[in-house]
């Protein structure tokens, strides 16, 4: 009996021991698949869309490469890049990242080792020089230019005609002429000439770049405010517009878009990327034209061409960089047909000069009365003066926005700019 009992106990023990067998399987570490590259960008309607087109175009060249496109807010991308690159961890970084031109130098100068040199992947001289200046550092090209921010003056022809002007009058004009037209338009139609958001000095930026000048000196580091004639002229022009009461204030993007969509303003001086927003109001078809950007009066080297915004693709110096570089080189870097697709599919204009010879660039747009706006923009792109956006575009703009308000309230312009210069020097160093 005892023996049986022991046997029973032993069998129970053995059974329970068997049952507690391990279940966890070792998860096999996923080896980094070099056949896949990731792309990080913002704005699903524009940048992501363009990248998807590039992905499709590349399928014909190398169908094996898997391209994963991740969308994120620009602020988040900037933050991610800064945190990762400064700590030197490449984990979780994408192969290709989109960086706004105004910020590009900041990244390139801070972390030059972290970006992959693309100088041999594409011919930089085939792109607009103002663009390649921002994507390069120390003579090496790190980024392949994407969209141009070439600016134009979008004008309502119907309002213009009511005020007694013709489209031809808008060619090669300066801001004084613009203000004069504005006054007439307001007189004739009661409409404001343009909208402005007081915290966004995009107009100032466009004005000074048309004169080959920037907030910073050529070195990209020293603030160039107090001595900057172009900037001074731009400020003056801005105030004159205010004084002429042809500016409708807006506080944000939607009010800005609503301004021209509702027909409240007669013109929109901004980058070409606004085209889709303008065309969104189909009822205004045929009532718009795009004129060259006005130049600053009294500044000798000011031209009727400038830029606002725009960004470029950069390859990070992490495994998979060769594949990523080749992908960019074969699409954004050299593919003329791909640029035609970009124009046709989404109206995105690049800075690749040979692309301008394509059919899509030469097509007329009925919304703008048959005007070949893409060709025009492409032509202006080549004329955009080359400036060094440097490292601190937005930091200085924050200072200048306050200065502008002071100036508008009546503070002396020289004093305003001198104070701004001092503040900028204190802040930036």
């Amino acid at each position: 009996m005892k023996r049986i009992l022991t046997l029973l106990l032993v069998s129970i023990l053995v059974l329970s021991a068997c049952s507690s067998g391990s279940k966890d399987k070792e998860t096999s570490g996923t080896a980094k698949d070099t056949k896949e590259i990731t792309v990080l960008a913002w704005d699903p309607n524009f940048n992501i869309k363009a990248m998807n087109l590039a992905k499709d175009a590349y399928k014909a060249i190398n169908p094996d490469l898997k391209i994963k496109i991740i969308e994120n807010a620009q602020a988040d991308i900037v933050q991610k890049l800064n945190t990762n690159l400064s700590s030197g961890t490449t984990k979780g970084l994408p192969n290709i990242v989109l960086i706004e031109d105004y910020r590009a130098q900041g990244f390139l100068q801070a972390y030059p080792d972290m970006f992959y040199d693309l100088s041999k992947s594409f011919h930089a001289d085939e792109f607009a020089p103002y663009k390649t200046a921002t994507t390069s550092f120390n003579g090496k090209y790190y980024g392949i230019p994407f969209d141009t921010g070439v600016a134009g003056l979008y004008v309502r022809t119907d309002y213009l005609e009511k005020a007694g002007y013709k489209v031809e009058d808008l060619q090669n004009m300066d801001w004084n002429k613009y203000i004069e037209i504005g006054k007439k338009v307001k007189e004739a139609t009661g409409k404001q000439m343009l909208t402005q958001d007081p915290k966004d000095l995009g107009l100032i930026r466009m004005m000074i770049q048309s004169s080959g000048s920037w907030y910073l000196k050529k070195d990209g580091k020293t603030p160039d405010i107090a001595e900057n004639k172009a900037l001074k002229e731009a400020f003056k022009t801005y105030k004159e517009m205010m004084d002429a009461d042809i500016v409708k204030p807006v506080s944000d993007w939607s009010q800005f878009v609503a301004g021209f969509n509702s027909g409240d303003v007669a013109s929109v001086p901004t980058g070409n990327w606004i085209t889709p927003s303008i065309k969104a109001e189909a009822s205004q078809s045929g009532k718009w034209t795009v004129a060259p950007f006005p130049k600053l009066s009294g500044i000798a080297n000011s031209v009727n061409a400038t830029n606002l915004g725009g960004s470029s693709w950069y390859v990070l110096n992490i495994p998979g960089k060769e594949k990523a570089a080749e992908f960019l080189a074969k699409t954004f870097g050299s593919n003329k047909d791909f640029y035609q697709t970009l124009v046709k599919e989404m109206g995105a204009i690049g800075t690749y000069k040979p692309a301008a010879e394509g059919d899509a660039y030469k097509a007329g747009d009925d919304f703008f009365g048959g005007q070949k706006i893409t060709a025009d923009f492409a032509a202006w792109t080549e004329k955009i003066p080359q400036v060094n956006y440097g490292l601190h575009t937005y930091a200085i703009e924050d200072i200048l926005a306050v200065s502008m308000q002071d100036y508008l309230k009546g503070k002396d312009l020289d004093k305003v700019l001198e104070d701004a210069q001092k503040q900028a020097e204190d802040q930036i160093k």
């Binding site: 049986i4 029973l8 069998s11 129970i12 059974l15 329970s16 049952s19 309607n45 404001q192 402005q196 958001d197 007081p198 915290k199 205010m242 004084d243 009461d245 500016v247 409708k248 204030p249 807006v250 506080s251 944000d252 993007w253 939607s254 009010q255 609503a258 926005a401 306050v402 308000q405 508008l408 309230k409």
Partner: protein, 590 residues
């Protein structure tokens, strides 16, 4: 089937015992398993609810600190003179408006810094039609839409109250998030009490989700439900914006019972539901844990079932073997006992097995012994009685015989036949001497023949000589002993019944030895008689003329009584031809 049944017949006890044990073992193990599972489930649920209510408190804390930031931001908005000025100013010039917008921008920037940790979009809207948004693309609602929004109506109803309202954007909207939780409050002049606008601090639902998304997992979800039963935030995205009145119902139940947790069905699953009311948000926060995912994995029911099944099986085998062993000795005992009658109680049972069965076996065996003893005694007593009876009978000379014989002698004397009477008296004397005189039960064949001769002589004197009697006695048999008066009754029978029809005949008495047996025959050629197939004697009325108490019938019994069943009397008869009585006896010399 019958074979099996027969096999079971002697194992009734075993089957009952085994079946009962099986049923009990299975019942016990099932109930213990079930209870254990239930208890551990209860235990886990309790643990779960404790840890999860702690987790919920953490979530609540983060919600509260979030709420605090919102309160600070809204207070700042309310106290900001820039905001009030911008929103109350009427018919401002463009230039002035430009300035106000810029001031507003700066003001809002500092106010928004309160909410820097969270992604938020602040919109303020004045009665004068001016509105300002920090980030219109974050919460893309146009001024027009906002003005007619239900939220705005709610604000105007309770301008002092900071309310969290749920807003769902139309589907085709370009914004990344469709679901928003908007903290709203009226902008009211504290002194005059006039409402000059409203503020909207919008948070994408995904922002809200961050407060608890770390704690959720598949099967462990969080739902924030407002008072009208709409899910405003959840870890299950497609449930956001749908109404969940059942949750509201559970909330009431839990508030009413002040229960920590509730087991109920939700989303067609058995769930552990924890609830926490967020008073500052006026939202119910539910933590809903799928019971299956939470506990299903913890308790491997299959494994438990397998273990208990194996144990039950092992126990059954052991029970089977042991009870088989215990009952086997008993049932073999029973088998032996039930067969005892077949062997005339001579078969002793084998004493084996457990103490009890051994005792029973011993008791049974000693009982058999006593039984035998008793039966032997009984048989002996019976035999003795019968013997005594027969002895008494054989001692008894029929008085009629004596009377008749004496009467015959008397007539002889009267007629002067002196010699004849003397011979008759001598025969009677010899007869009486041999029968009553000797005490011994047996006599020699010679003596018996003498008796027969005397008897025949007397009868011939009485009834004449029409029946002749011949004796053929093998000389070697003369000294063998036979029971007294065993031939006489048959001779008597032949005399008085054998020749009722025939006038004369003979009776032959034959004695010889055949092997180990002594054969005696009384053969007559008289009338013969009808006899049954079994060779039994016909019933005869006791004749008064019989010589002794012993009749034909007794003879057979007597032989068997003395010598055993293999000996006895056989009678053969044919009507008109005569009767033959044959008896076989053992050879005895003493």
């Amino acid at each position: 089937m019958k074979l099996i049944f027969n096999g079971f017949k002697h194992n009734g006890l075993f089957i009952i015992m085994f079946l009962i044990t099986v049923i009990i073992i299975i019942t016990v193990s099932i109930s213990i398993t079930w209870t254990t599972i239930r208890m551990s489930e209860q235990f886990f649920i309790k643990k779960f609810s404790i840890t999860n209510s702690k987790v919920m408190n953490q979530m609540k804390d983060s919600f509260e600190s979030f709420h605090y930031s919102v309160v600070i931001a809204s207070n700042n908005l309310l106290q900001s003179s820039t905001v009030r000025k911008t929103l109350t100013e009427k018919n401002e010039s463009n230039a002035a408006m430009m300035g106000s917008i810029f001031n507003m921008y700066q003001q809002m920037k500092s106010i928004k810094s309160n909410l820097d940790t969270y992604n938020a979009g602040i919109v303020v809207m004045g009665k004068n039609g001016i509105s300002y948004a920090t980030d219109r693309s974050y919460w893309p609602v146009s001024d027009k839409e906002l003005r007619s929004n239900l939220m705005t109506r709610n604000i105007l109803e309770h301008p002092k109250k900071l309310m969290y309202q749920y807003d769902r954007l139309p589907k085709q909207n370009a914004a990344k998030d469709r679901n928003f939780i908007v903290a709203t409050r009226g902008l009211m002049d504290r002194i005059t009490g006039t409402v000059y606008g409203s503020m909207y601090i919008a948070f994408a639902e995904s922002e809200f989700r961050k407060f608890y998304s770390n704690y959720t997992s598949p099967g462990n979800h969080v739902f924030l439900v407002n008072k009208s039963g709409v899910i405003v935030s959840s870890s299950i995205e497609n449930r956001i914006g749908t109404s969940a009145n059942d949750l509201l119902h559970y909330a009431e139940k839990m508030e009413h019972n002040s229960k920590k947790y509730l087991l109920a069905r939700f989303m067609n699953k058995e769930q552990i539901i924890l609830m926490e009311y967020l008073p500052s948000f006026d939202l119910y926060m539910f933590n809903i844990i799928d019971k299956q995912t939470a506990i299903g994995d913890l308790i491997d029911k299959k494994e438990i079932a397998l273990i208990s099944m194996t144990i039950v099986f092992a126990a059954l085998i052991i029970v089977f073997l042991i009870s088989r062993k215990v009952t086997d000795s008993l049932s073999s005992l029973v088998k032996q006992i039930s067969n005892a009658s077949k062997y005339n109680f001579h078969q002793y049972v084998s004493v084996s097995g457990t103490y009890e069965t051994r005792q029973i076996g011993r008791a049974f065996n000693s009982m058999l012994d006593e039984l035998h003893e008793y039966v032997d005694q009984l048989v002996k007593a019976q035999k003795d009685r019968r013997n005594a009876e027969l002895a008494a009978l054989q001692q008894q000379i029929n008085p009629h015989f004596l009377y008749n014989t004496l009467t015959t002698i008397k007539f002889m004397v009267q007629q002067g036949e002196r010699e004849e009477s003397e011979a008759t008296i001598n025969a009677l004397i010899s007869l009486l001497q041999n029968t009553i005189g000797t005490i011994s039960e047996t006599i020699t064949v010679n003596q018996e023949v003498e008796n027969l001769k005397s008897y025949v002589f007397i009868n011939q004197k009485r009834y004449g000589n029409r029946i002749k009697v011949n004796y053929f006695i093998a000389p070697d048999c003369l000294d063998y002993r036979i029971p007294k008066l065993i031939l006489q009754p048959f001779l008597e029978n032949a005399f008085f019944h054998g020749f009722n029809l025939k006038a004369s005949g003979y009776i032959n008495v034959l004695v010889w030895r055949e092997g180990n047996e002594l054969i005696c025959e009384v053969v007559d050629n008289g009338d013969g008689m009808e006899i049954g197939i079994e060779g039994k004697l016909p019933k005869t009325k006791r004749n008064r003329q019989l010589f002794s108490g012993i009749g034909v019938k007794n003879v057979h019994d007597r032989i068997q009584l003395i010598y055993g069943e293999s000996y006895g009397v056989k009678i053969a008869s044919k009507l008109g031809e005569g009767t033959k009585v044959r008896m076989n006896l053992p050879i005895r010399k003493k």
